[in-house]
Symmetry: C2
Subunit: 704 residues, 2 copies
Amino acid sequence: MEGVDILLHERSKTQFDVDAMKIVWAGSRHAFEVSDRMARLVASDPAFQKDNRTRQGRKELFKNTLRKATYAWKRIVELRLTEEEAGRLRFFVDEPAFTDLHWGMFIPAIKGQGTEEQQQKWLPLAYKMQIIGCYAQTELGHGSNVQGLETTATFDPDKDEFIIHSPTLTSSKWWPGGLGKVATHAIVYARLITNGEEHGVHGFIVQLRSLDDHMPLPGITIGDIGMKFGNGAYNTMDNGVLTFDHFRIPRNQMLMRVLQVTREGKCVQSSVPRQLIYGTMVFVRQTIVADASSALSRAVCIATRYSAVRRQFGSQDGVETQVIDYKTQQNRLFPLLASAYAFRFVGEWLKWLYTDVTQRLQANDFSTLPEAHACTAGLKSVTTTATADAIEECRKLCGGHGYLCASGLPELFAVYVPACTYEGDNVVLLLQVARFLVKTASQLGSGKKPTGTTAYLGRVQDLMQCRCEVQTAEDWLKPSVMLEAFEARSARMCVDRAQNLNKFANPEDGFAELSADLVEVAVAHCQLIVVSNPNQETCDPGDIGNSANHEATTNEPNTYTFETISALSISGVWFIEKLQQDIPGNGVKQQLQSLCYIYALNLLHKHLGDFLSTGCITPKQASLANDQLRSLYSQIRPNAIALVDAFNYTDHYLGSVLGRYDGNVYPKLYEEAWKDPLNDSVVPDGYNEYIRPMLKQQLRNARL
Amino acid sequence: MEGVDILLHERSKTQFDVDAMKIVWAGSRHAFEVSDRMARLVASDPAFQKDNRTRQGRKELFKNTLRKATYAWKRIVELRLTEEEAGRLRFFVDEPAFTDLHWGMFIPAIKGQGTEEQQQKWLPLAYKMQIIGCYAQTELGHGSNVQGLETTATFDPDKDEFIIHSPTLTSSKWWPGGLGKVATHAIVYARLITNGEEHGVHGFIVQLRSLDDHMPLPGITIGDIGMKFGNGAYNTMDNGVLTFDHFRIPRNQMLMRVLQVTREGKCVQSSVPRQLIYGTMVFVRQTIVADASSALSRAVCIATRYSAVRRQFGSQDGVETQVIDYKTQQNRLFPLLASAYAFRFVGEWLKWLYTDVTQRLQANDFSTLPEAHACTAGLKSVTTTATADAIEECRKLCGGHGYLCASGLPELFAVYVPACTYEGDNVVLLLQVARFLVKTASQLGSGKKPTGTTAYLGRVQDLMQCRCEVQTAEDWLKPSVMLEAFEARSARMCVDRAQNLNKFANPEDGFAELSADLVEVAVAHCQLIVVSNPNQETCDPGDIGNSANHEATTNEPNTYTFETISALSISGVWFIEKLQQDIPGNGVKQQLQSLCYIYALNLLHKHLGDFLSTGCITPKQASLANDQLRSLYSQIRPNAIALVDAFNYTDHYLGSVLGRYDGNVYPKLYEEAWKDPLNDSVVPDGYNEYIRPMLKQQLRNARL
């Protein structure tokens, strides 16, 4: 079966330039080349093999992760890789490890919250991995509510030290990745107490383990918190528990960019505003959104390829039908394919946003931080929820075999789902958006003009009366029509909920009572952001930052895309510019347009109750939207395999027998089965002790 | 912390008789007592301990399952348990094992498809477990489509034997539980070939392994198919792969109740109709529905208790708010609580239905089999989809800690989700319902009066014109109002889709093109079945079989309940009769009513697009439904803990630190963490090889 390509026929039907699409997906030719090189490097190195991961017990699994993570570091050093290359290499190694937290949270926290002096001291050590850091914020009894943390950092002016202490069981630090077994240092968040007064929660650099023998320092207790969801998956990570018994650190290990504690124990606010503490959060959530597109595209790639390989029922000509040809399959799969592209583009844009915020912070311009914070929070919520659901849907779309670890999907799901909870529970984040909307709506009467993503609320009178113009299915392909429908829906829902809130004497009571309804308004608003284009007039070709989503505040499950892709494919703003002559991109634009409309129309169908209850569209128009959607599925169908090929994933990275590039699924599934430890012997361990006695027993006293 | 009861205050708020509710949940006082006794028996026996399951490697895990399953059998024999008691004991052991297939599929298949003679030969051996059977239907390349199976059984008249053969790789039997390492026998489904002619797929009793040394017999290759989703979970089961190389069995091992092959190789149809083959399917799907209520109630119990224990934000009086008091939490959790009760009742009803079908089969009455088959198929689809989603939602409702195996929810999800795929893919099953509806609708003009669950379509003229009478939120609590809304919606959607189908020259093309829309009609119809009560006039108190759902054909995610509970709580038909004087049931009826309306109104909100697009209700009425829903949440809130206590689950069965009866979550989570193998040593294995060299290395050549 060597050299087989079951999907060759599928690939021959492609109507666009796949190589051009690969570059669109990667973000640039440079990014494509780096990714491609690193992916191949990892895939071709047996040290990075991962197909036995789901069969390993915890200890063996973890030791292997230590091996791979340190080997990856060795290669990064040996090959003198750039930071970008190193990041991609770690990405393709595809195994959660202490290094994720070291590079992704420990270092950014020091960069964002440490003084110049602190950065000069700690960053070189961290960059060379002479220390390994983690990020110790959440506690056993405290997750989302940072202000509820119990760990204390009490300043002792006698010794010029902070005493870090865990006053209760529930104050145990709990969850930090890399903490359990590896990290030598941590950023520990604790309530600052000086002179008997509390000054809120702050970060402290704390050494946890001896650099000589790796033992926890006296006064520190650390362990791993135990098994997590799934085989392999996040169990490669040593999420840890940590308690302090009056552990002392020098005063200069408090991160003091925002607030300084003087030698005398006085708190002095620096010129840097408090919001700076959100810098790390923006960075982290931005990476979470990027991860969403990776995870989703991976699941979609597996499900799409296997849907073309797998045949069930309908044997008109003696051969069963490919399941990808069933409309029920398309109706579940293609919107996820569209979402994968959507999240990819929004992730790219957020990278720019973070860069922009960082540059402004360096220039002491904090004006955009609240917006960036809200925006990343919202996008984090919507992309992770949608991705988690989509991975499981992709698993189901693979039928029974999706349940095998060999499909790659169980591990992908298990490793992915915590993203819905960590760094802000997704529902809590949507409530933040809702609060912002309610505030904006409440100020409408006062003459204050809403701006940015809420600017449309300034036209609320018009939007309460407008009528959707769709008369044919094709009318749904007009961007202005789609935009108005989404604007009217959100505005009308906003007004409705604001009126309901006004019935309460106490606004906070009303907000609490109506919170489930308010989450829905947040969702509607976020979907609007996706389809709207408030800043289009200022668009600067080549500058993604000025595209429509610049002022996005948040978003909702399955939503971000229409505008992102619109900006690309309809108004052709930045990626056409980016691609230019290098890659002709034959047919690329048409495919992205189709995906874009599939995305938006599917959204409209899923939230039809909103559109109809607000009178924004008619039932007839909804039916036409469905007709258009089916037609788009037919347009995408012959290109489906090529659209997932464009992700350029190696079989190593995909880690799925069902998603193999060559489609040679069944022989490989069969081969894979025999690797299970249970197949080490024909007769299983336990036969003589348990099975044989049962079979041989004469059960004379049984009543059965 | 011994004797602590963190949830005492919650329990003191209960407004109904929990003991009475426990009996309602169990189905009868007798059922309660049996379950309660078996649950305690298992929980108190250290041999059945399972809290280390998610930490075990495959071999250790599997050997332990062999130990537990055979020990359970030993206890069943020693204690002379009845079949009912034995079933409950296995249920509370709560570990998928070969015995599930032996009792749940192998024996029922012989009972259903074997001749009298075959039953007399094989059943005693199976009942005494002197042979262990499994059920080998699906193949590597063939799942849902039984008619596509490739394994052949060719009659050899010379030797009076069948030759069982696997002609291709894709014909390998794949997935059967118990096959991989344990079963000595299997019911093998294969294409019957005699005299060179094919006669469809039939079942054969095939011995797989030697009863002396457990080795596969010559010509048979067997193995385990490898790791599946999750830690512990279904990996306790030896799902297997099986291929035959011209393996011979005597002619009398074909299950011949329906079709007999004579000594000469002639096929003779017996007087028993072919449909008999569906008997096993009805039984199996009935047990799947019962399992859905168990799995869902377990997840809901964990999430509800932990939502009362956990506190986040909103510290008005210095203590954070219980998360169960947030409306967003209630809006996600309480409909699932309602669903748990719903599925429990529908499962009970299906048990009756199966008994009824079995009795009829024994009297050679096959008239109700098609309906029973469709009904169980539909209910299988809707309850399993809803349950799988609900378990994951419950996990998310527990915040970060839900991701720990110690929460019990990851394993519950992983072990549960295959139910959406096995015994009929859930979408394929809904398409079967859709086809039935389309057929019924197409006959409306011909004067043929629709009956049973489609009877309402006979009043289609009225239903196209009726108007919902709801004017206040309370109006939604009238059963007739709810019923009409659901009838009108389904009828109108049916008419609409039938009209769309008529536009196609070829009906099959139309069905294929519109299949995604048709699934939605199936859903609407099934939801109607739930809220309707076609047979109420024939209701015989005390006989659940005559209750509203008698003619139910199928159902949809999150739907079954309204009528089930209505029949119980509103019209008070059968469980009030059942409970009678034995259990006063103070307040029980009110709680079930609240749950029933929560269930129905949540459904209406989720599918609002359907109701509005068909003009069955107005936006204003939808808004009133939401108001009523919030009010019901407030009514349920003080009773939430008691409502999950009524499931009467032991902490052993729940298997969740978060769901502990006493709510003493945090100390136990902390304790549990230290049991992880990684905590066997303070410094992890791999430190000297990997971590230390990295920390000590001078990375002079690094570019970073």
